[in-house]
């Protein structure tokens, strides 16, 4: 499928979603995408730090970043925007993010069924080969009419 044939444009959708609400408060930005993955950027911010006395980004914003990137990856893979809800999200924090660095969240939708979407991804601070976190998640499609 050619790029132009796709209906769901992650770059455009990101600016729509990050104009307000939780994603807007975090300041998430579009970074990159492929056929079934999307990468978003979480810029460094002083008021998102975790433990007092440590210059380390809190883990909460990374969880939000990955939740958002996962949703975008699912819409990209489905090539349409339908209501979805996070069912289960696991984050392994493998190392702290570097001070002052943006954190990038890249999530891939590797399996879609009629009712569920399965994603996996990673967060990194510049080098995707040296992640700060790994994630795995399952989302459910919120069907307006249940299909049994």
């Amino acid at each position: 499928m050619s790029e132009t044939a796709r209906k769901f444009d992650p770059a455009q959708a990101t600016s729509f979603f990050t104009g307000r609400g939780h994603s807007g408060w975090l300041g998430l930005r579009y970074s990159d995408h492929g056929d079934d993955w999307v990468e978003l950027e979480l810029p460094w911010r002083e008021d998102l730090l975790g433990e007092e006395g440590q210059r380390v980004l809190a883990s909460g914003p990374i969880l939000s970043l990955m939740d958002m990137a996962s949703g975008m990856a699912i819409w990209r893979a489905m090539d349409e925007f339908t209501a979805i809800a996070t069912l289960d999200l696991r984050v392994d924090y493998v190392r702290p993010a570097r001070e002052g660095a943006s954190v990038f969240g890249r999530s891939q939708c590797y399996r879609l069924t009629r009712s569920a979407a399965f994603v996996r991804g990673l967060a990194h601070d510049g080098d995707a080969g040296d992640p700060v976190a790994h994630i795995q998640a399952v989302f459910m499609k919120i069907a307006s009419t249940a299909r049994l």
Partner: protein
């Protein structure tokens, strides 16, 4: 024994999100976050990331309270968290409370529940492992 030990202020992230200490429940802090734009995902609902942030913050608060009670000093570092989303978070205040399932020397295992109107009907739960590094 201190039922409500002095715990360090919430993290800059937690304060910025709007999380506050609601009350103490049997020596464990109950945190809350009002429904504001900072937590909103799809219209009139919590963003899954905001709910996760509340759960995680409540888990750390429970651990800090227990460490303070035992006069232990440690730097807390996240190992992992698994969040189960059980119901949509609606446009009202959410609460969360963490329980320490296991407190070891180097790591702690904590379960957390978040709810809105009815504590018996949680909107999300989490299990987290936290590393306690020597200062």
């Amino acid at each position: 024994m201190a039922e409500t030990p002095e715990i360090e202020a919430l993290t800059p992230y937690a304060r910025s999100l709007g999380i506050t200490l609601e009350r103490w429940d049997d020596g464990t802090p109950v945190l809350s976050v009002p429904f504001e734009e900072t937590v909103e995902g799809r219209p009139e609902h919590y963003h899954g990331g905001a709910t996760g942030g509340l759960l995680e913050t409540a888990g750390y608060a429970a651990l800090r309270a227990e460490l303070a009670r035992q006069d232990r000093v440690a730097t807390l570092k996240p190992i992992n968290i698994t969040v189960q989303y059980l119901a949509a978070g609606k446009s009202r205040t959410s609460y969360a409370l963490g329980r320490i399932t296991k407190l070891g020397r180097r790591s702690a295992n904590i379960t957390v529940e978040a709810w809105q109107d009815d504590r018996a009907r949680p909107i999300a739960t989490a299990v987290m492992n936290v590393l306690m590094a020597e200062p």
